[in-house]
């Protein structure tokens, strides 16, 4: 059974249809890519899944539950977390604190317990810190743990954002252009990282412009243009699809 299924999903802003009748499934354990030219509606799809927007029509089903229109924090709790196209870290909090905020939804200490640092709070906090540090080790940024997020090199900020999203042990991770602005070496690292994330049982839905990355790691690719799906298939099928080439390069290319 699919972990995430979009059915006839549409979103219009005024008269403008940003996403039209989009239907696809994301199987558990897969790496699925969403590609298309700028303005094709890819980020809108992410925003519909994570609850920033309520769909005009259609449904988003996650792990057997309808989540369309659910608030972002409830979506995170249900097990979907994401990164952003423009990095949105908590700039003036430490790297470790960023990951701990990512863990927020799996922590249960109440305000009063926080205030007196109750035994439960201390246990949970210690456990969360340990897990956060393990994540940072895995991502190779543990040595920055006590630096501010904003002081990290750009490529490491991208990685931190992914680490923060993984801190709540999501079932599905949405990555919005994780390779944007990174250099080839960082891209190669990122590719390995995404594969190791999947190897740990997290399903990945990816928006990406870098074709080498997309073709290298995706199990399946969906291509959007003007809010509609124009093609889908395995990477090598999509790569040679005439409509995809036209969408990217224009007709007659």
């Amino acid at each position: 059974m699919a972990l995430l299924s979009l059915r006839e999903l549409s979103k219009s802003f005024g008269g403008l249809a940003a996403v039209k009748n989009l239907t696809f499934d994301v199987d558990e354990g897969a790496i699925i890519s969403l590609i298309g030219p700028n303005g094709a509606g890819k980020s809108t799809v992410f925003n519909l899944i994570t609850g920033i927007y309520r769909p005009t029509s259609g449904s988003v089903n996650f792990a057997g539950r309808e989540i369309a229109g659910t608030k972002p924090n409830a979506v995170a709790e249900a097990g979907i977390t994401r990164t952003f196209q423009n990095i949105r870290l908590f700039a003036y909090m430490t790297v470790l604190e960023n990951v701990l905020v990512g863990r927020h939804v799996r922590m249960h200490a109440q305000p009063w317990g926080d205030a007196i640092h109750s035994p439960y709070q201390r246990r949970e906090e210690a456990e969360s810190r340990k897990r956060a540090m393990e994540l940072l080790e895995w991502f190779g940024i543990a040595r920055y743990a006590h630096d501010w997020a904003r002081n990290l090199p750009y490529g490491q900020q991208r990685r931190l954002e992914i680490a923060r999203a993984l801190a709540s042990d999501p079932k599905l991770l949405l990555l919005d252009e994780p390779a944007a602005g990174t250099n080839p070496a960082e891209k190669a690292d990122l590719m390995k990282l995404v594969q190791s994330i999947r190897a740990r049982g997290v399903t990945v839905l990816l928006i990406e412009h870098d074709m080498k990355l997309v073709m290298g790691i995706s199990d399946y690719v969906h291509v959007l243009d003007y809010g509609e799906e124009i093609a889908h298939g395995k990477p090598e099928q999509v790569r040679h699809d005439q409509r995809v080439i036209e969408a990217y390069l224009g007709k007659g290319a």
Binding site: N73, M93, H104, V105
Partner: protein, 361 residues
């Protein structure tokens, strides 16, 4: 030696295990000096001023949660101070001939103020920055107006008189400022420990995440509505506690005690000290309070003396406490010009303000 001073004691309860030995020593020394202060300086008007610094500090702590941690600019914070003070005044004075116990009222008023924090906070949840500031400015004006006009309950502009003073067993606090000073001391120490614990826990991080990026915070599973309301309510509870002790010490309160000036004074205290940093808030609050309660009244006397000595009539009758707002304004301008991050800034704010300089150098 250095290593010994950097030692921590993780076994300590109440989050005290977080502090290094040198921090504990500094804290203990400052604490002992403050404990001995009424013995060192036995002038009762001085002790009274030191005690009054207590409510300024409590208010500054509370406002710092909302403004410093959560990043919500609230300009009408004195409203919650008023609500705390009036809750106690109405239930422990001849006004309705009710005389509930001070210690119980300390908690009741904190809860009432917290409830109002939620009630007044809820409509503003979608607002940020300037808009929030304007709306909360409105609250700050509405509350004293209500107190003025609800004569039946609040005795209108005349305020409530003969408010009960606290007692412990058979010991009456009376008009002696010293027990109030110690009461504030104990309450402030407790609040400091609790606040610093909050700052370093799930809730404190959620507050700061909202300040840094509300949308990203929401996507990390933070219920921003609940967390902001908690900031409003906990911040207001501090004002409620401050209000009760304040009312019991002065024994007479009127709507004029809770004007916009108070909100500005508290905001100035945290900006001067260093927004978002508890040590900064302590320092800023202490400076503003002592200026207001000690230095300015003294300065008036000096001015009078000068006036008589040199025969300048205008100086003989001047009351400089009336100029405290001018002075506060002046301080604010100086701070913004020369040290925008405050005297003891949180590392965060310092970096934020100097980030551009770093980038350009």
């Amino acid at each position: 030696m250095k290593a010994a001073l950097a030692r921590r004691f993780p076994g300590l309860p109440l989050g005290l295990g977080r502090y290094r030995l040198d921090q504990i020593i500094v804290g203990a020394v400052v604490g002992i000096v403050l404990l001995l202060l009424p013995v060192i300086d036995q002038n009762s008007s001085h002790i009274s001023a030191f005690a009054d610094a207590g409510y300024v500090l409590l208010l500054a702590f509370g406002l710092n949660i909302v403004v410093g941690y959560t990043g919500l600019l609230v300009l009408g914070y004195a409203a919650f101070f008023a609500i705390g003070a009036y809750t106690y005044a109405m239930l422990a004075s001849p006004q309705f001939n009710l005389h509930y116990n001070f210690w119980i009222m300390l908690i009741v008023s904190a809860l009432v103020a917290a409830a109002f924090g939620v009630i007044l906070g809820a409509p503003t949840l979608r607002l940020r920055g300037d808009y929030l500031a304007i709306v909360t400015l409105g609250f700050g004006e509405i509350v004293p107006q209500l107190l003025r006009n609800l004569d039946k309950y609040t005795n209108g502009p005349n305020g409530i008189v003969a408010i009960d003073q606290p007692s412990i067993g058979s010991y009456q606090f009376g008009f002696n400022p010293t027990p109030y000073y110690y009461l504030y001391f104990v309450v402030i120490v407790i609040c400091l420990i609790l606040l610093n614990n909050l700052r370093h826990s799930r809730l404190g991080r959620a507050w700061m995440a909202i300040r840094e990026d509300e949308l990203a915070a929401e996507h990390m599973g933070i219920n921003t509505t609940a967390v902001k309301l908690l900031a409003f309510s906990i911040g207001s509870a501090f004002a409620g506690i401050a209000g009760v002790i304040y009312a019991s010490k002065v024994t007479t309160i009127s709507p004029d005690d809770f004007q916009f000036q108070v909100s500005v004074m508290i905001l100035l205290a945290i900006v001067l000290g260093g927004i978002g940093n508890l040590v900064g808030v302590l320092v800023g609050g202490a400076i503003i309070a002592l200026l207001n309660f000690l230095v300015l009244p003294q300065a008036s006397n000096w001015a009078h003396a000068l006036g008589y000595k040199f025969g300048i009539v205008s100086l003989q009758n001047v009351d400089l406490t009336n100029y405290h707002f001018m002075l506060f304004g002046f301080i604010l301008v100086l701070v913004m010009l020369f040290r925008p991050e405050g005297l003891v800034p949180s590392a965060t704010v310092r970096a934020e303000l100097h980030a551009e300089q770093e980038a350009s150098s």
